[in-house]
């Protein structure tokens, strides 16, 4: 019942914070959000599960199942449970929520109780996304994330917030609907071989090759069409080039704490869903089209990095850099090697921490300077040395400096991708891996350039107010995140063993779909 407790607590906390007067809302929300952190860490410490939630013969942690809706031929159940993929993401969600709330104390100065209430509401939905094992339940949580995000961007965002909020809403909602249609094509193709919308049941039926024809189309076409619809639906969320155009707008307009959650957790919904649906349920289609998917991944890595290189706004740089980092995740997933899949999942957690750190650091600089244009400022390290130090550390994490989590994740992804056997030709794996590795060079390029121009050199910023050290409450969350980044870099096994245990089964799935 611990998953239910987490969700219920977050929902109740959201309700409580909604009615608290504005001046206490921030502190109150932070205190309340520590409880989910505690629960999730405790769950992590007693976590005992084996195998992958969607595949047969696995043992899940904190699993519950209760009947919910009966209508027509399919039962819909309240079914939640955690495996080694979902557990780290839930810990990431709870920790990042608390840190985002603390980092919102300075920049958010109006309608605070609504702001923090929405953040906690979104936390409940996010936990649900990572824990739900029934399609409809999962979809309810998935869409439930959209609503608070729409308001968080639209009400508290920057000057073009209305446009960004609508764009985010329409893009991701259309993507959800396409994905929904794709999934239902599979459900009806399976016909009588399933009796519920449970994801494990559907995954096992699909992998056992029980898909029939739908509306006159054979199972092969149905599978391919469903795969394409699902891939499109999740690729928008990830985002994969060319479905990424909503992301820079949303990121730049969103207030810092919201960007932290958007990059840190929301993007992971997309890769998490890709892992569950496209790469577990429809592994054979993924393998058959591995080259195409790898091209999407590599293009995202390089193109995202090049876009970041061209930006002059510090926040845009970080926003575009997420596109290339998420490209690594896809590259690792499509490799279908233990290292690739594990590294991709590890990269989800690692990127959640590092991108959160980067956005927060940019946010702190912006709070003090009121500008994000790298051309406008220089020598910030003189005035705010601590923030600058953390920013440099975060940038090195992003570039994959050893002993930081980004290094561990990227090494695993590259190893896995290099060893991959899914591509038809033997030179494909080294080629794709090699091109993607070149992305790191570009990342180093734009991050070094950004640091060079903003942090170092003589101080220059034309303002009529003092620019000084940031208050402790702004900097403290940065240190927590940095500590986590280093902890995961030094000891990846904190999460990697449980991840590995959950994804290794996926590599055993045969090409033809039969287990």
């Amino acid at each position: 019942m611990l998953v239910e407790l987490l969700i219920l607590f977050a929902l109740m906390a959201a309700g409580l914070v909604f009615v608290v007067p504005d001046e206490y809302a921030g502190k109150f929300a932070a205190v309340l959000s520590l409880v989910p952190v505690g629960i999730s860490l405790w769950m992590y410490s007693v976590f005992e599960a084996s195998g992958n939630a969607l595949l047969a013969d696995s043992e899940l942690a904190f699993e519950t199942m209760a009947s919910w809706i009966t209508l027509g031929p399919y039962a819909v159940n309240w079914h939640v449970g955690l495996d080694g993929v979902s557990m780290p993401l839930i810990v990431l969600t709870t920790i990042l929520t608390t840190l985002a709330i603390v980092s919102a104390w300075t920049p958010i100065d109006e309608r605070q109780s609504q702001f923090y209430g929405l953040i906690l509401f979104m936390q409940a939905a996010l936990i649900g996304v990572f824990a739900a094992l029934d399609f409809l339940l999962w979809f309810v949580f998935w869409e439930g994330v959209l609503v608070p995000m729409y308001f968080l961007i639209g009400v508290w965002g920057g000057p073009r917030r209305k446009y960004a909020a609508i764009k985010f809403f329409v893009y991701t909602n259309v993507a959800s609907l396409v994905m929904f249609a794709g999934f239902f094509a599979l459900v009806f193709g399976l016909g009588d071989s399933i009796t519920s919308l449970g994801l494990p049941e559907i995954a096992q039926a699909l992998n056992a090759g029980q898909l029939g024809s739908v509306a006159g189309f054979g199972p092969g076409i149905v599978k391919l069409a469903a795969f394409a619809a699902l891939f499109f639906g999740f690729a928008v969320k990830v985002p994969v080039v060319p479905f990424h155009t909503w992301l820079p707008d949303a990121h730049v307009e969103a207030p810092t704490p919201v960007s932290v959650l958007l990059a840190g957790v929301l993007l992971k919904m997309g890769t998490y869903a890709l892992l569950r649906f496209n790469f577990t349920m429809l592994a054979d289609v993924a393998r058959a089209n591995a080259e195409l998917i790898a091209i999407f991944a590599v293009v995202s890595v390089i193109y995202g990095a090049l876009l970041a290189l061209a930006q002059k706004d510090l926040k845009r740089i970080v926003a575009y850099s997420s596109i290339s980092s998420m490209g690594y995740v896809i590259l690792g997933l499509i490799a279908f090697t233990p290292h690739g899949l594990g590294g991709a999942t590890f990269q989800m957690v690692s990127h959640g921490l590092i991108s959160g750190l980067m956005f927060m650091a940019v946010g702190v600089i912006y709070n003090e300077t009121h500008t994000r244009m790298i051309g406008d400022m220089s020598g910030m390290a003189d005035r705010m040395p601590v923030t600058a130090g953390v920013f440099v550390a975060a940038a090195f994490g992003y570039m994959g400096l050893p002993l930081m989590s980004g290094f561990a994740a990227e090494v695993l992804v590259f190893m896995g991708s290099f060893q991959s056997q899914v591509y038809a030709s033997s030179w494909a794996a080294p080629l794709f891996t090699g091109i993607a590795m070149f992305g790191i060079v570009i990342v180093a390029g734009y991050l070094l350039r950004a640091m060079q121009m903003t942090l170092f050199g003589p101080f220059r910023l034309e303002t009529d107010y003092d620019v000084g050290r940031a208050p402790i409450q702004d900097v403290a969350p940065l240190f927590v995140l940095l500590a986590l980044v280093i902890a995961l870099g030094v000891a990846p096994d904190l999460f990697y063993t449980m991840i590995q245990d959950a994804v290794v089964d996926m590599t055993a799935l045969g090409l033809g779909g039969g287990a």
């Binding site: 009947s67 919910w68 809706i69 009966t70 209508l71 027509g72 031929p73 399919y74 819909v76 409809l136 979809f139 309810v140 949580f141 869409e143 439930g144 959209l146 609503v147 729409y150 308001f151 639209g154 009400v155 917030r161 209305k162 909020a165 609508i166 809403f169 329409v170 909602n173 259309v174 609907l177 396409v178 929904f180 249609a181 239902f184 094509a185 459900v187 009806f188 739908v214 509306a215 006159g216």
Partner: protein, 505 residues
Amino acid sequence: MIPLQTSNTLPDWAALAPALLLGLTALALFLVDSIDSDDRSPALLAGLATGGSVLAMAVTGWFLVAGTGMPRTGGELSLFGGQLVVDGMSLFFTFVFTSVAALVSVASYDYLADRPHQAEYYSLLLLATTGMTVMASANSLATAFVALELSSLPSYGLVAYLKDNRGSVEAGMKYFLIGALSSAVLVYGISLVYAATGALQFGGVADAVGGVENTGVLGIGILMVMGGFAFKTASVPFHFWAPEAYEGAPAPISGFLSSASKAAGFVLAFRVFVTAFPLEAVAATIDWALAFTVLALVTMTLGNFAAATQENVKRMLAYSSIGHAGYALIGLAVLTGTADPGYALGASMLHLFVYGFMNTGAFLFVALVEHWGVGRTFEDYNGLGEQAPIASFAMTIFLFSLAGLPIGGGALSKWALLSATASAATFSAWLLAGALIVNSALSLFYYSRVVKAMWIEDATGDFEVTSHPAGLYAAIVVAAVATFLLLPAFGLVSGTAYDAASALF
């Protein structure tokens, strides 16, 4: 909880208790009015109307739980020589009508403040509801027609209730003229069906319909009957009265007509087409499932596209309610090819059930805004979230639920519709499923415009919300809570709907 039928402690006609309670309340309101006719007791009138409808709703709920007329207690109760039946379907819809009537009566207390002829308003409201409950139970083309008129005639009066307002009177007039025309079409259709089959009761029609020699007369008759229902449900091509009538009518009445009255049209259509014109028997004459497919496609698309271009919130809701009629038509449209027709029909019933709460709630919010004297365009709604957070929060739930986001039961009823459509797995069903998805995406665009105006835009007008009308607030909050709770509690309703729909086949 003793099932009515097996215990034999109550006569069968007691199953009509909801209709009788509603009718008696309407008469009681006349009585109160004739004793004290100067409208000095609006609280008494509103209380009486609300009490009557809540009582009827409670009795309906009890019957539903006890299983009156359900297969598990011995099947439908046939009354008055088969003119009326009480079964799961009729009770399910009676619950919708009575709950909407209760919400509307509570909300009208504030909306009607200082207006004359309140007793007449409430009694017309209850008479219309009575007509709807009889429509849900009608088992013969004759009773169906009488019930339809009983619900329509009071509605014309209600739409024109604001008689010093030109829009209201014009809307009532338009509604009345088109209503009269549709009634004529319907009754002519009924007479043609009678001419061809020699029967009026649905069972008799169904028996005769397969062996009819003059199939042309029968086919035209069925088409004309379909037209009569299209009017009542505001489906294309008999929809054009709806935006006018909903916009001109007092806002609570718009909510009442667009949810309860529409649902009444649907329950009658479901019963007539499923039991009187069974598809396999009339397939040679007219493929009405195909006709409903076209109707559903056109209705949902036209309604949603028209709604997307509106500048006026009430008109947007009116057009979107045409779109929702299109969704509900899917229940009839996909009966060909589906292995489990109860699934499709049950999904439509569920959508109408949730719709009763969320759509009435949305119109009641419009009523609240009208009560404050704020305008009706999207811009006029700017900044309402700051001024009236509770009501705006409720409105957000209604609108997102209408759009199909999982913040209310609307998401699940749309899911049920979609999966029922897709399970039919014919080409036209896939077309419908695709249209449903596209229309849902489109509807999110215009529903979120209102949400955006309320929460994200800064107030443009300098209005001040000064009053907090208790009745309107209560009705809105109750509707919002019901809409929200239908998300987790959907399982409680879905089983009943499915059983009730399956019992027809």
